[in-house]
Structure formats: structure tokens, C-alpha cells
């Protein structure tokens, strides 16, 4: 079972192939279909009486899909158990939403912060991004990166002490 996420929607999905046929299960619903690869690398999918041709490539936990005029970047978590699949992101932990450069740290580890206070400032593609405290609390962790260092998307930026 894979958890596939796009924007705020997630889908518990599983696909079984057998020759040119496949069975897809999405959030408990099951679909049957067929597919074929085209000479130019496209894949044709036939499901629910509809044939569509698109492109699809995966890389790490990302899958890039073009289908019916829309480009998608899907996140995939493989082997997810259904029960904890839709767990909410913690309000205590703030990750970098971008890959970029650390421009400034406004507070120090251990400081008390109020909801909305700017904690760190990042820069990517000529724009500043201010990461703010999601609630009042005490800063239990703060990135060890120095000003000017490169930051990766998903890297822990700071954490608030548990309430």
C-alpha cells in the first residue's frame, strides 16, 4: 500500500499488474484497466471505458505525471500502513518548505516565542521566506545551520517544547 499525496489530498493506493492488465485500488475502491507503453515513452492507460495517454516518471519519493493536459508532482510514501496514513503534521515542528539559503535567525534556542513571531528567514529564487512560530511556546530546538548555509526542503528548522 502506497500513500500518494498531492496538495491536501492523500490516496491509499495499490496497483497489481499482470501482463498488460492491472488492478488499482484507491482508498478501498477497485478499478480494472489495461496499459501499454508507446515508442516515445508515453504510457496509455485504459480504465472505465476511457483511454488516455500520458507521461510518468519516478525519482525517489516523487512521481511526475502528465495526463490530460495537467502536470502533477506526487509524493509517495511506500509501504504505509493504512491506520496511521493520515496523521496530521505536528504543530510543534517546523520544517523548511523550500531548498534555499539561511538568511537570518531571529531568536535563539530556549527563547520564548509568541504565535506569529518570525524565527528564521530563508531565501530562495530571490525571495525571502519567513518561518513563524505556529503557537506560543519555548523554542526547544533551532537549526544549527549558519547564516548563509544551504538548507534543503524538509530539513528541521525549529521545534517548540511540548505543551
Amino acid at each position: 500500500m502506497d500513500k500518494i499525496t498531492l496538495g491536501s489530498n492523500s490516496y491509499m493506493s495499490k496497483l497489481r499488474r499482470s501482463g498488460s492488465e492491472f488492478t488499482l485500488s484507491v482508498n478501498g475502491e477497485t478499478f480494472a484497466g489495461t496499459y501499454s507503453k508507446k515508442s516515445n515513452g508515453a504510457i496509455e492507460v485504459s480504465m472505465n471505458d476511457t483511454n488516455s495517454i500520458g507521461f510518468s516518471e519516478k525519482n525517489g519519493n516523487e512521481i511526475y505525471v502528465f495526463l490530460n493536459g495537467v502536470n502533477y508532482v506526487l509524493k509517495r510514501e511506500s509501504g504505509v500502513l493504512k491506520d496511521n496514513a493520515f496523521e496530521e503534521e505536528s504543530r510543534d515542528t517546523v520544517l523548511s518548505p523550500i531548498t534555499g539559503k539561511l538568511l537570518d535567525k531571529k531568536v535563539e534556542s530556549g527563547d520564548l516565542v509568541s504565535k506569529g513571531d518570525v524565527v528564521v528567514i530563508l531565501e530562495a529564487m530571490k525571495m525571502e521566506h519567513r518561518l513563524k512560530a505556529p503557537r506560543d511556546g519555548k523554542l526547544s530546538k533551532l537549526t544549527l545551520a549558519q547564516i548563509g548555509d544551504q538548507i534543503k526542503e524538509g530539513e528541521l528548522m525549529f521545534e517548540l517544547e511540548e505543551e
Binding site: 496538495g7 496497483l15 484507491v26 496499459y35 510518468s56 525519482n59 523550500i98
Partner: protein
């Protein structure tokens, strides 16, 4: 006559300018930072010079490195594109002092137009409509000044910027408390509590007029562009003509823009930006450079603005006058950005694994990236400009939607799905919008719920071939030694 131009820029605009050079039999020199070694603008140019690290101040913003590259390669002119050094008066002056031609207006013009207060004052004196306000420091009977301007109005820190020390005042009752609050904020933010009052436009359109002037005093306008579709105060969709104004009004705006350009002693291409609301327009600022969205004007007027920039820079006179310039049909541009419209338009670097551009009648691609290219976080996330033309606005919207739907780009998040939703939006189609359009209509935009077919295709995907993933950084590069580069004849 200019024989060789150094393009002090990167991305799609550098490619656009190189094409113009090629077509005019002028040699083009590209400059590039370390991370741009395999970028399209480098591969397209006749020569390319490495000017330093990814950090713009050490490459694309570095006066000396750029002038040296021009000298080394024997270029006789520099085209700054947009962004970077394009509106830097000191750079324009430095280029001239280095005995090179700066493809743009005079340094003095760039400087005066770059100072918002000075340019507003200059336009006011020239009789170009400006936003009514307190004309400098707020002194005397504030209530009466406010009544003269009319509500709603805006109290602003004179030294301000970035929204600090700024308050919208809806009516007389709010005036005193707003002034008090703005003053405190201004003092805290800028150490200076001088305020000004200005009329507040709550629902304006952004309409701008393209200007073209030669060095012999001829100035014409190429009509207007409607640029109200913005996110974070940055345009994402532009069109020409504006669907908001009548032909009579269009003429009036054009004449005001020419008046503004004459007041600024303008030559070369430039843009006069106006805010428009309820039948009135007000000077906003003048951009003393080529605009990102110049393409829609080219499509509608049939005039190549970049080629004319080069011609007037080498002293040629315009070969047409105002009455020869006609708008025909309708053109729309969509900016394809590496950004996530579901997360506040955050930039989304990545690697372009596959790109297929839309083709066909009335479709123009101004592209600055290519397949197998890394999009780093070092620069602006603009990937490409998709421009369409058709005989009328409705047809142009349909053509744009089809073109967007044929734009394949795999490997990073782009605003392509968002742009398609805008094309389908009723207010957009009815041309009923202001600069608040995105906030009003797409505040909580999210990617669409997935059709099971998309999930099937996703799970049927295979890994990209090794060739596509391999990074270009490790490959042998002849440019790493800061050598010039020449494409064979």
C-alpha cells in the same frame, strides 16, 4: 554599427536577445555564473564567458566582471535585459564611460525614474495624472488635506517600504488613530515618522503603456498591456489590448505615456505603468528597460521591440510614426513559474526531466530552460513565457488553454495547473478583475483531486534512465577556465 553585443543576463530574456542578435547578423556574447554553465543562453550564444559564482553580486550584478567580459570579447554594446543591472543608472553610466553602448535609456533618465518621489514629481509637473496626495511631508490641517484627497486614503511612511508604516483610512473617523499608529510604526521601523497621505485605490487595474523612442527625439507608444493578474505583487498573466478601456481612453493613456517619456527625455524601450480605477488612471512608475511581458505587445503591434532597442541604441531613427502603429487581434502571456500555487507560490527548484512545448498557429514560446537542466534556487523561478495570439480575446483564451494543456514539464512543481484554472475562471473570461483577482478568486487554491487514471499512471511509472539523472556538474567543461567560447561557423 553594433557588431557584437554582450548580454548581461540569463534565462529566457538572454535567449530572446541572442535570437534578435543572430537575426540581425550581430554576434552575441553570453555571460554565465558557475551554475549556469549548461544553460540554453550559454549554448545559443556565439561566445560565452564565465563571470563567477552563483551569487549574483559576484557575477550577474558585478560591474567589473561584465565590463571585462565585454572588453575581452571585443563587444561594442551591452544589453542588460530585465532585472539584474537593467535599471541601475550607475551601471549604465559605467558602460558609457567604458566606451561601450548601453542598450537602454541614458543613465540620468534611469536614475530619475528610479527615485519614486522624483519621478512622481516630474510626471505631476509634466501634467501626467498622478495619485492625489499630500505632495510631500504631511503638515498643516491634516483633516482638510484628507478631505481634499477624498476617502478611502492611505497614510504612508515617507521613508517606507514593504508595507510598514502603512494604513488604509476608510473614513474621517479612522483618520487620527491611523495616523498615530502609522507614525509609531514608521518611527520604530525607519527611525523617521514623516508621513504622507495618498488616495487609496482599493480595486485598481494595472495597465501599462509600452514606449519606444530614438535618440533623435522621436517617441511613440505601442499601446497598452493589461497586467492585473498578479500574485504577491508580481504579474503572472498579461494581455494586450486591455479589455477594460475604450479606444478613446486608450488613446488618452497612450498620449499621457508619451508625455511622460518626453518629460523624462526618454530614448529606447520603456514602460509607463498606471493604476486604473473607475475611469481614472494614475502614474505609478516608469520602468526604464525591456519588460518581461513585451511579447504581447510585439504580437499585437507587429513590431519587434528588442530589434528596435538595438537599432535606436546605434543611433537609427524610428521608421514609423504613431499613426502607423495599429493593434491587431489579442495576445495573452502566461508566465510558467517553478512555484507551488497551493503553498503561497513558494519557489520549487528541481530537475527538468522532460519538457514538450506547445506548438501550432499563434503560439510563441520564449523559453530559458531545457530538458535535463537543473533549476537551482539561485535565481528567479521563471522557466518560460507562453504567448498566444488570436483574432479576439475569447479565441486567445481558448488558444492559451489548449497551449497550456499541451505544455509537458516533468520533474518539478510548476504553476501550469493553476494557470489552466485561471483560463477557465468566469471573472477572467469576462475580463472583470482587478489586481485583487488572485486573492479574491484563488485564495485557497489546491491541486485538483486525483482521477484514478492519474494514480494508475503514477504507479505504472518507471525510473528515469540514468542518462537523464546524471548531473552536469561533473562533466568536463571548457568554460571553467574563464575562457571565451566560440560556436563553430
Amino acid at each position: 554599427m553594433i557588431k557584437k553585443i554582450l548580454i548581461a543576463n540569463r534565462g529566457e530574456i538572454a535567449c530572446r536577445i541572442i535570437r534578435a542578435c543572430n537575426e540581425m547578423s550581430i554576434k552575441a556574447v553570453a555571460v554565465y555564473s558557475d551554475v549556469d554553465v549548461d544553460s540554453p543562453h550559454v549554448l545559443m550564444a556565439d561566445q560565452a564567458v564565465n563571470i563567477g559564482s552563483a551569487n549574483p553580486s559576484e557575477s550577474y550584478l558585478n560591474f567589473d566582471k561584465i565590463i571585462n567580459a565585454a572588453k575581452e570579447t571585443g563587444a561594442d554594446a551591452i544589453h542588460p535585459g530585465y532585472g539584474f543591472l537593467s535599471e541601475n543608472g550607475a551601471f549604465a553610466q559605467y558602460v558609457k564611460e567604458s566606451d561601450l553602448i548601453f542598450i537602454g535609456p541614458e543613465a540620468d533618465t534611469i536614475k530619475s525614474m528610479g527615485d519614486k518621489a522624483e519621478s512622481k514629481q516630474m510626471m505631476f509637473e509634466a501634467g501626467v495624472p498622478t495619485i492625489p496626495g499630500s505632495d510631500g511631508e504631511l503638515v498643516g490641517n491634516i483633516d482638510s488635506i484628507a478631505r481634499d484627497i477624498g476617502y478611502p486614503l492611505m497614510v504612508k511612511a515617507a521613508a517606507g517600504g514593504g508595507g510598514k508604516g502603512m494604513r488604509v483610512v476608510r473614513n474621517e473617523g479612522e483618520l487620527d488613530s491611523s495616523i498615530e499608529a502609522a507614525k509609531n510604526e514608521a518611527r520604530n521601523s525607519f527611525g523617521n515618522d514623516t508621513l504622507i497621505l495618498e488616495k487609496f485605490l482599493d480595486n485598481p487595474r494595472h495597465i501599462e503603456v509600452q514606449i519606444l523612442g530614438d535618440k533623435n527625439g522621436n517617441i511613440v507608444h505601442l499601446y497598452e498591456r493589461e497586467c492585473s493578474i498578479q500574485r504577491r505583487h508580481q504579474k503572472i498573466i498579461e494581455e494586450s489590448p486591455s479589455p477594460a478601456i475604450t479606444n478613446k481612453f486608450r488613446k488618452k493613456m497612450g498620449e499621457a505615456a508619451v508625455k511622460a517619456a518626453k518629460a523624462a527625455n526618454y530614448s529606447n524601450a520603456g514602460t509607463v505603468e498606471f493604476l486604473y480605477q473607475e475611469g481614472e488612471f494614475y502614474f505609478l512608475e516608469m520602468n526604464t528597460r525591456l519588460q518581461v511581458e513585451h511579447g504581447v505587445t510585439e504580437m499585437v503591434c507587429g513590431i519587434d521591440i528588442v530589434k528596435w532597442q538595438i537599432r535606436v541604441a546605434q543611433g537609427e531613427s524610428l521608421t514609423f510614426s504613431q499613426k502607423d502603429i495599429k493593434q491587431r487581434g489579442h495576445s495573452i502571456e502566461c508566465r510558467i513559474y517553478a512555484e507551488d500555487p497551493s503553498r503561497g507560490f513558494l519557489p520549487t527548484p528541481g530537475f527538468i526531466r522532460k519538457m514538450i512545448l506547445p506548438e501550432g498557429p499563434g503560439v510563441r514560446n520564449d523559453v530559458g530552460v531545457s530538458e535535463a537542466q537543473e533549476i537551482t534556487s539561485s535565481y528567479d523561478p521563471l522557466l518560460a513565457k507562453l504567448v498566444v495570439w488570436d483574432s479576439d480575446r475569447g479565441s486567445a483564451i481558448q488558444r492559451m488553454d489548449l497551449a497550456l494543456s499541451n505544455f509537458v514539464i516533468l520533474g518539478l512543481i510548476t504553476n501550469q495547473p493553476f494557470l489552466r484554472d485561471i483560463m477557465k475562471n468566469e471573472s477572467f473570461q469576462k475580463a472583470s478583475f482587478s489586481t485583487n483577482f488572485i486573492d479574491e478568486n484563488f485564495k485557497d487554491w489546491d491541486f485538483p483531486a486525483l482521477d484514478p487514471q492519474v494514480l494508475a499512471l503514477a504507479l505504472l511509472s518507471s525510473k528515469a534512465s540514468q542518462a537523464q539523472i546524471s548531473s552536469s556538474a561533473e562533466s568536463y567543461s571548457p568554460w571553467s577556465n574563464n575562457r571565451g567560447w566560440r560556436q563553430g561557423v
